[in-house]
Symmetry: C2
Subunit: 456 residues, 2 copies
């Protein structure tokens, strides 16, 4: 067994009954999986036993009666992961939360708290919320405009990361002899005043063993990619074929370097839902059968989601994909543009587009060897750093962990044991130095002062 210096990273996307319309029909999946904390605990343990880097919880704060089963009724990501923390000990815990309808002080506190509760395993998937209807749940007549959403996201993140550094790592003296609990010099206000937020701080919680929670992001649009370049340490990528994946990967790595950051410090993980069987033919048959089971009405609803739940049933099915103008540009813009683009380029009818986007990722359908080969190819040829695996039925996930992962281990591409117990450790990310400690070190002019400044 050789060991490649570059190692694959794997996330497990846990979505209970599934974000597609018909996943919940699987006989192994209980109808209440999305509100059953034990279901999540067990899947997290299954992923941890397979030495996955992280589990990933998606989120959105708006539903209609037509929403897919998982969206209709599910646990909130931070409380969910906090409850999963105690049932696991190594695996990273990444929760999605919007910057559009939250207060940075509350967000900073909750993620910092999850980070301490889990011993340094928290990650935040920063989203701006694509569903325009969300506005109505937060006292707004209109969803915040796409460009403003991303400006707000950038500032929100800046505030949150600033609050996370409120205490230097040696702030708490806790000396019972002298009665000194805190060194007040090591507690810092933020005093942020910006376009969207003004926040004095300090935050009332210390840093965790990994320094700060890891920032994930999933932007596709220009604004989304720029936010990623400046902040993201992990990306949940929405690409569904090798060429797009490679182009996206190279674009993000370049933007990250251009933003003055180390491109190795952003881990790009497209989401995939592999279908694995003993032979390629059997796997393809399962895939075809799944497509056959798809209900066209539901596929059209799902297609409409990135376009603000646009009603596609009004168009003829077997004519070219309709011209939608700039519909979707204020919602999931990146998704919406991608769908329009693919439909145009490939000359899809509406029916074809509905099928295509209801069950994508046909690259990862086959025998364990075929799937492992494809994973290796994407990894080695610079299209990904790993994958976020969509976990549905436990039996199907077990085929991935028990039959595909061993092949990748044999090839030296994936760990057999954890060598760290923080999410940053797994992803090879450095622990960010507290900005105030760094400033003190930078200001120290003599060697003696320097040593004192770093606490030596």
């Amino acid at each position: 067994m050789s060991t490649s210096p570059r190692q694959l990273k794997f996330g497990a996307i846990l979505t209970g009954v599934g974000t597609a319309q018909n996943e919940w029909l699987h006989p192994e999946i209980p109808g209440d999986a999305s509100i059953d904390i034990d279901w999540y605990r067990q899947q997290a343990q299954q992923a941890e036993a397979a030495k996955f880097d992280l589990i990933f919880i998606v989120d959105s704060p708006y539903i209609t009666p037509d929403s897919a089963p998982h969206y209709l009724n599910r646990l909130e990501p931070l409380t969910l992961l906090s409850a999963v923390a105690g049932a696991t000990s190594k695996i990273g815990l990444v929760a999605t939360l919007t910057t559009s309808y939250t207060e940075p002080f509350n967000v900073a506190r909750q993620f910092a708290s999850l980070d301490l509760i889990s011993g340094g395993r928290a990650g935040w998937n920063v989203v701006t919320t694509g569903l325009e209807g969300a506005a109505g749940n937060f006292g707004r007549e209109q969803h915040i405009d796409h460009t403003e959403r991303y400006r707000r996201a950038g500032e929100h993140l800046q505030v949150v990361q600033g609050l996370w550094d409120s205490y230097e790592d040696d702030a708490f003296v806790r000396d019972k002899q002298s009665g000194v609990f805190l060194d007040p010099q090591r507690q810092h206000r933020l005093d942020h005043q910006g376009e969207f937020f003004s926040v004095t701080g300090p935050l009332n919680i210390a840093r965790s063993p990994q320094g700060q929670p890891v920032i994930f992001q999933a932007g596709i649009s220009e604004s989304g990619r720029n936010l990623a370049a400046n902040f993201a340490e992990g990306i949940f990528a929405g690409v569904d074929n090798f060429e797009d994946a490679r182009a996206y990967y190279q674009d993000i790595k370049q933007r990250t370097a251009a933003a003055g950051r180390n491109p190795d410090h952003v881990t790009i993980l497209p989401g995939i839902a592999p279908i694995i069987a003993d032979t390629d033919e059997q796997a393809q048959a399962i895939d075809r059968e799944r497509h056959g089971e798809l209900d066209l009405h539901k596929a059209l609803v799902q297609l409409g989601r990135p376009f603000n739940y646009h009603d596609f049933s009004q168009y003829p099915l077997d004519e070219p994909f309709p011209d939608l103008g700039d519909l979707g540009s204020n919602g999931y813009r990146g998704h919406a543009e991608h769908i329009k683009h693919v439909a145009r380029e490939q000359g899809l009818t509406l029916r074809q587009a509905a099928w295509r986007f209801a069950a994508p990722f046909s690259n990862f359908v086959g025998s364990p060897k075929t799937v492992a080969d494809e994973i290796e190819r994407w990894f080695v040829e610079g299209a990904v750093d790993g994958f976020n695996i969509r976990v549905g039925a436990p039996g199907e996930f077990a085929r991935f962990t028990n039959e595909v992962l061993p092949l990748l281990r044999e090839r030296g591409l994936f760990r057999s044991e954890y060598s760290h117990s923080t999410l940053r450790g797994h992803l090879g990310l450095p622990v960010p130095v507290n900005r105030h400690s760094a400033a003190r070190v930078a200001q120290a002019v003599t060697v003696g002062e320097h040593l004192q400044a770093v606490g030596a």
Copy 2:
């Protein structure tokens, strides 16, 4: 062993290193207790083994370098309790959260999620935040005015409770045969439009086994008491002597009845920190010693907290408590007024007031029998429904659970086993009927329709 029909209720206030300035010096309390989830899990288990009704987490979103140790660095209540849920199975989990700086949609989701995660054990202690500095952490130049804060709290609560009823209990059909997941008739929008909030809903989460989380409150002022009368199902009362407790108890029960609610459906629990020793003399000696250890500077800081961290060190110590005008009326108004009132009535000097309010509750200092007698007296004479016990060192808490509770059990005043596994069950509160189901039942005109409406 007789059994009184009316049973004492007990909560355990877990505050890690303690909200008083010097509690963390106790040799049994680790300096990082407030950020150690295992510390909370163990104390929750200790309380559950003693058949307590609930654990209680206080909170506030603002600190200065002078704040007491627990405030400086602590876990956030919802993530904390979610992590404790898995380590317990019966005890109620009550988290404090402000209505002044949160969005009802997010609050409703997180409590509903904790409620499902814990199998129906969640409670929300609704506060409006007394510390004026909190405003600066949420983009406001000024803390919201006291009266407006309470109006906002009432509307916030109305929205949250409305969102909690988004789904009727039979909304999720989950029939894999027919492919029907949701009965859309049983999903309800809220469409609330009010003074502070407009929220369409529906909330994306179902009700728990207890229907809705239990509402706690701790108001002392006129507005606070009225909010309690309308909404509170539990009260964490801030009274420190029998006469005040009885007056408060009777006032709240009367207001609750006047608001058209059953006064038995609000459980009033003052917070106390008993000091128990083999004999009364030994307990009193410990109490005196504790007072002697108090640092006057810290006692003055603590005294200043309800007055928006007012600096009391500027006044002469041994002259009458200073005239503060209406200072504190926009912060912890009830607390502030109480302190001014007591200082005036009892003619306290500043030094005496500092001691008095730094370590109150001298009624519960004594042998196990003395403390049990006092608890029984307050309970039987209509001053309380039970107590919220401030848990500090595990050894001291064990004296309460192992030596005081058995006496109360012998007298038939407290349970030996749980008879329920939800917080509502413990407190004798009914499961609130979903408002939409109730409306349907009310509208049904024939017997057949009625049976159909209730799902029979």
